[in-house]
Symmetry: C2
Subunit: 337 residues, 2 copies
DNA sequence: ATAATGTTTACATGCGTATGCAAAAGTCTA
DNA sequence: TAGACTTTTGCATACGCATGTAAACATTAT
């Protein structure tokens, strides 16, 4: 109950200089003599002074806050990404105001409004689709947005994803090379560009080899739904391989195949996922999957966003990071692996 | 490049009232007539006005920002907790500034300083130990701190954990009732109160039944280390049951037991974990574990913190939420389950 | 009708900092 | 040593809003 605020005024008085001198000492670009710097630092030290970021933001117009919107945290890919994003932004002197978007994207607009109220310098939207009216509003306020792991070509913002199309294709070719002919696909939420692109690449590669999708069910990126999708898919004319739109669902698929349907993986059925989340390498799953290179994705996201924030702002960019296939044990291996 | 800021001034002019009238319309407790409210709202609507949270924070001294410090995000328990915390705080009109603390806690002090620079109203530290000098500093600034899933009795802040001691005891009794006599323990990072309490409760319950810990290794809450701990523990005179300090490690333990050592679970060895993270119920693990009730923990954490923030601040509280044993298939079941 | 009360309003000020401007203090050259 | 620069400094102001104060207004009681 003793909120002793230390202001630059007090430091100035103690140091025997003006408030503006104190300010300049703490402002990178400003001019201050060695002497005053010393005096100010000493005074600041004894008083325990630290510049008030909020006041600084008010006058400078730059809050050094980045808004981060996330929908899912149960899919391990996102916590991982958040950690990396946060670290990278911290390293650049920015901080992260985090917002959970209800998965239904109902309140998304109001969430964004709230974010903007804090005068964020930029926004990263992970796995979230933005209405173009929102995008309009943000860009008119000069707040750049980068979509992380989701793409929307036409609107006014950048995006960073993995190369989902070619990733899907890689999965298809791997399964075909493994000798599979009855290949199923378990889709994610159809509204997601990741889902669409992965499926597109996958199906295109099958077709290119003269193969048709043997079965298709929708799992909505949720484990429960993926389980029922699996049951439906294997009820009649079971496929000999399944590509699942992400690892998170793939775990449910594998559990269902093994423990409910009594199938062996990969002897009876091959499973390939997408993301390469940490659990994919856990031996109980040992999942063959397409890796999203979170590090590069984060790096690009931060680079693009900060470029735009700091005014070196190029045009909107749409980046797709290469996505290698990680071969483990959940899918039959073609010769040569 | 057209950052058209709309201020309360402009709204006031358009509405034909004073700036303070506009402010009062947007300030819950303030008085404003129906007429002016209408005029102001209409003007605000057409201009697209929203109050600037930062300016508001400056003058009111309340930022409605809560700093959240997290160390790990690979253990699923924390993403889950973050999601719940964030939702709960958002529902109360607060927002979350998130900080990743390097696991080594080196830069923790500087992280806290940065947090404080943003004039946060309170701090939640998840799975992080604070130096008492830091605590000093925060409380002198009037910024309450709540430790989440970590306890430190003597210093000046509250904490919310599960009842780790009794949770550990439950695990011990369950294993003993299951007929195990050679019971091992794989510890987490020894600096963590959760680790200490779980082990204490576990060992105490064993002793109470006249049993001694058969083996003990340290896994540091990390999967790699947990795997090597398992190898060491089972190299000679293998136990017939293992209690692992958290689920995250337990998965590595189970994988190592099954796929490296060729042991069957629970026929050859029983495994019990702690946390009940989502993956514990995945059938590949189907882990018997002690549940940390994240919902209640979050609820209590937010309640305590906001009480203190909003001045109804009681004394520091140390809350331990009851932690039930969730019986699944990874440990041999005593009769009656 | 008037006084007494209760509501609503505008004015003015301050939150803590950055920054343009002009004066002051240094630095260098001839 | 004077003049021409360059660097440093203090002053004043502005950022956008909330709030204390006193005046204006509306409502009720007498």
């Amino acid at each position: 109950m003793n909120p002793e605020k230390v202001t630059s005024q007090q430091v100035a008085k103690l140091a025997g200089v003006s408030q503006s001198a104190v300010s300049r000492v703490y402002t990178p670009g400003a001019s201050a003599s060695k002497k005053t710097m010393l005096k100010v630092h000493k005074a600041a030290e004894t008083l325990g002074y630290r510049p008030n970021s909020l006041a600084r933001a008010m006058v400078s117009g730059k809050s050094r806050i980045i808004g981060l919107i996330v929908a899912y945290l149960d899919n391990q890919f996102y916590p991982d990404a958040i950690e990396k994003l946060s670290n990278s932004l911290q390293a650049n002197g920015y901080h992260v105001l985090i917002f959970m978007a209800s998965k239904t994207a109902e309140g998304l607009d109001s969430v964004i409004e709230e974010i903007m109220d804090y005068q964020v310098d930029g926004i990263i939207a992970a796995s979230v689709a933005l209405s173009s009216s929102l995008a309009q509003r943000c860009s008119s306020m000069g707040v750049p947005i980068v979509l992380f792991n989701r793409a929307q070509q036409d609107d006014g913002f950048s995006s960073v994803t993995s190369d989902n199309v070619s990733g899907g294709a890689k999965a298809a070719r791997f399964l075909m090379e493994g000798g599979h002919t009855k290949i199923g696909y378990i889709a994610g939420w159809e509204g997601a560009s990741t889902q669409r692109d992965r499926e597109f690449g996958f199906v295109a590669a099958l077709q290119q080899a003269g193969l048709k999708l043997h079965a298709r069910e929708v799992g909505q990126f949720e484990m429960e739904q993926a389980s029922s999708a699996t049951r439906r898919m294997f009820a009649t004319d079971a496929p000999d391989a399944v590509f699942v739109a992400n690892d998170h669902m793939a775990f449910a698929v594998m559990d269902t195949l093994r423990f409910e349907l009594g199938l062996r993986i990969p002897e009876d059925v091959s499973v390939v996922g997408y993301d390469d989340v940490p659990a994919a390498s856990w031996l109980a799953y040992n999942l063959t999957t397409v890796r999203q290179r979170a590090n590069q994705m984060v790096q690009e996201t931060v680079r693009i966003l900060l470029d735009q924030v700091e005014g070196n702002g190029d045009q909107d960019q749409h980046i797709a990071i290469g996505s290698p296939l990680i071969v483990r044990g959940s899918a039959r291996k073609p010769k040569g692996y």
